[in-house]
């Protein structure tokens, strides 16, 4: 990998504006962009992530051009696609010119469409959870770190307890609880509520890590002169936290949230895999893998498509997060 521009500015400290003489006239943002552009892995993974994003946004358009949708049970409606046991007649899971990635065993839906609409489900839930987690984590972490004393102690204990919870187990146990807050048991749960419950559960156990990290950073930042200067000029605590401290913490926040998103994508898929996530008929990768694990001995293709999709997506996002860290904060270079 190539080395970044010489004498990169200290992005974590106050010296962000003091760029080295050779690179004079470039803002920290421009420098980051320059460093990022030179990182081939980063650029490629960014392209893959963008591709997934675009596919998700254009899903209805693709469906229109492609001619199928993710809900119709083609295999059951049209004879000749599935045999009497529900397996696709054509080899490789029924891949054909009309059904590019084959058909779902049993219900006979279009795998390609389910996969593309599945990106929407995953990304929507993961993105919402990431934003919420980051906002709550930042506010709590910064406040606790700056306020210190009793507030800090209290928040610290809450974080300790949250991190001692067996998290997967609580994800599963919490889903019905969160859902029942919104709807009574007799009613059919609408899909957006299911998604909202998932986001709530993911956020509930997600914010503690980021809050703890930022709290630690604030502890060292708040002793710095610029904070003291702000305090002397009579700035309110809120102003110091959000106008003085926050701008110095963007780097860890951005890095953490790019790593959070793939984590939430996999957590959501895992919950759906375990049967407590997104329910039929909304397309979802985790549920596709769950079905794929049931039928893998007869029809492995139905497992491979969603499995590869999630691996490629998560890998691209992890690589992107890594490259972003290198670009934003060259000091922590591996």
């Amino acid at each position: 990998m190539t080395m970044p521009a010489p004498a990169a500015p200290d992005l974590t400290g106050v010296a962000a504006t003091a760029a080295a003489p050779e690179t004079a006239g470039r803002s920290p943002g421009q420098l980051t962009w320059l460093r990022f552009r030179r990182d081939r892995t980063g650029v490629i993974s960014a392209c893959i992530v963008l591709f997934f994003l675009l596919t998700a946004i254009c899903a209805p358009l693709i469906s229109l051009v492609y001619g199928n949708d993710p809900y119709t049970r083609y295999g059951q409606e049209r004879p000749g696609l599935l045999n009497e046991y529900g397996w696709p007649v054509l080899p490789n899971g029924g891949i054909s010119g009309e059904f590019w990635f084959g058909l779902e065993p049993g219900l006979g839906r279009d795998v390609f469409m389910m996969l593309i609409y599945g990106i929407r489900t995953s990304l929507l839930i993961a993105a919402a959870a990431t934003v919420l987690t980051t906002v709550i984590g930042v506010v709590v972490g910064l406040t606790a770190g700056y306020a210190g004393g009793k507030t800090d102690y209290l928040v610290g204990r809450v974080i300790d307890i949250l991190l001692s919870f067996p998290s997967t187990l609580f994800f599963i146990a919490f889903m019905p609880v969160v859902e029942s807050i919104f709807v009574s048991a007799q009613e059919e749960t609408p899909i957006w509520l299911r998604a909202a419950s998932l986001i709530t559960v993911l956020t509930l156990f997600g914010w503690a890590t980021i809050a703890r990290l930022l709290r630690g950073q604030v502890l060292s930042l708040r002793e710095r002169e610029f904070v003291e200067a702000a305090r002397v000029t009579g700035a309110s605590p809120a102003r110091i936290i959000f106008k003085e401290l926050l701008p110095n913490l963007w780097t860890p926040i951005i890095i953490q949230s790019t790593l959070l998103l793939p984590l939430f994508v996999t957590s959501e898929a895992a919950l759906s895999f375990l049967g407590v996530g997104i329910i039929e008929p909304t397309p979802d990768w985790g549920r596709m893998i769950q079905r794929g694990a049931e039928v893998y001995r007869e029809d492995i293709t139905f497992l491979i498509f969603p499995g590869m999709a999630i691996v490629i997506f998560v890998l691209a996002f992890n690589l992107l997060g890594d490259s972003l860290r290198d670009a934003l904060d060259p000091k922590t270079r591996r």
């Binding site: 300790d160 307890i161 001692s164 919870f165 067996p166 997967t168 187990l169 609580f170 599963i172 146990a173 919490f174 019905p176 609880v177 029942s180 807050i181 009574s184 048991a185 793939p262 996999t266 898929a269 895992a270 895999f273 375990l274 049967g275 407590v276 985790g286 893998i289 769950q290 794929g292 694990a293 893998y296 001995r297 492995i300 497992l303 491979i304 969603p306 499995g307 999630i310 691996v311 998560v314 890998l315 992890n318 690589l319 890594d322 591996r334």
Partner: protein
């Protein structure tokens, strides 16, 4: 040392009480009736009342929690008979004592954890060390890329895929299943081999990265340079000096991981249909089996909290500069 342990154990007890209380109250936050669930479809009101009483859910929630808590230390009397301490109650679903159910499932989870830990420690630390020793060279790049790819793998996908390739297609491995170690060690090993390897993929990736960065940091320390300057063999410098300094953070994470795994590797157990604690907990949630849920939550949380303490104590042994205060 003893003061540290006492303080931490007290803290752990408080955390466990909070977690079990949260579980308890959250269970009843949902408007559901486990008695109706247990009683079946046709259930006259008198029977329902009786079932409710037998389950002990006709009392106020905090009283139920109190009885449950007391039961752990002193045992409890149920309509079905006496339950000796440590009593975690009886399952709502099949009236099995919770403690026995957990003891029954624990060997599976323990086998899975220990085997996987051996694999990921061996490969993770090994690969991390090689990468650190060969910084910037091909071996390092391969190890780093492998760990990045490994970290993006999903157990529920790779596990099924590995079973399909290795068992169904190539017929190299035994189909994943748990056999008792004491009954048949060979079957125990071959049945758990795929779960071990798959479970350890993500962990191996993490440990490779951590070992590498931790070693690289230590290798740039002054004491390492001094040792090298006075002509110490680089093997000794690497293994005796740098590794000792690099061990700390790895042991910390290992403790956390071990605690989490012992509470039940839910996804792995579900993927390979192994009947361990994790599988038990999913069943407890699906069946609305409160005593079972409380039992597994308690076990899982205890494992996490205890290993945190063990790690902190171990830290002081490895690095005498750390004071337990």
């Amino acid at each position: 040392m003893s003061r540290f342990l006492l303080r931490r154990l007290l803290g752990a007890a408080v955390i466990l009480m909070i977690i079990s209380a949260v579980t308890f109250f959250l269970f009843f936050a949902v408007p559901r009736d486990p008695a109706r669930f247990a009683c079946g479809k046709i259930c006259p009101p008198e029977t329902l009342e009786l079932v409710r009483h037998n389950m002990g859910i006709d009392e106020p929630v905090f009283l139920q929690y109190w009885h449950w808590l007391i039961g752990i230390f002193a045992g409890r009397d149920f309509t079905y008979g006496r339950c000796d301490a440590p009593c975690l109650g009886y399952s709502f679903v099949n009236q099995q004592p919770i403690f026995d159910a957990i003891v029954d499932r624990f060997p599976t989870t323990l086998s899975l954890t220990i085997g996987a830990a051996v694999v990921f420690l061996l490969f993770g630390i090994g690969m991390g060390m090689i990468a650190a020793a060969r910084q910037g060279r091909p071996a390092d790049k391969i190890a780093s890329s492998a760990s990045l790819i490994g970290a993006s793998m999903q157990i529920y996908f790779v596990g099924v895929l590995a079973t399909w390739v290795l068992v169904d297609q190539l017929q190299l491995f035994e189909r994943p299943a748990y056999h008792e170690l004491t009954a048949d060690p060979v079957k125990w090993f071959s049945g758990l081999l795929i779960p071990w390897l798959v479970l350890s993929i993500i962990f191996t990736a993490n440990y490779t990265r951590m070992t590498r960065s931790s070693m690289v940091e230590q290798l740039s320390e002054d004491y390492v340079r001094t040792a090298r300057a006075k002509g110490m063999p680089s093997r000794t410098v690497f293994l005796r000096f740098a590794w000792r300094g690099a061990m700390g953070p790895i042991i910390t994470i290992f403790g956390v991981d071990l605690g989490a795994l012992l509470g039940g590797a839910i996804i792995t157990e579900q993927t390979f249909v192994l009947h361990g604690i994790g599988e038990l907990s999913i069943k407890a949630v699906v069946n609305q089996d409160l005593p079972m849920l409380l039992g597994v939550v308690l076990v899982a949380a205890t494992a996490i909290v205890l290993f945190n303490i063990v790690v902190d104590a171990a830290y002081a042994f490895i690095d005498p500069r750390v004071r337990l205060s």
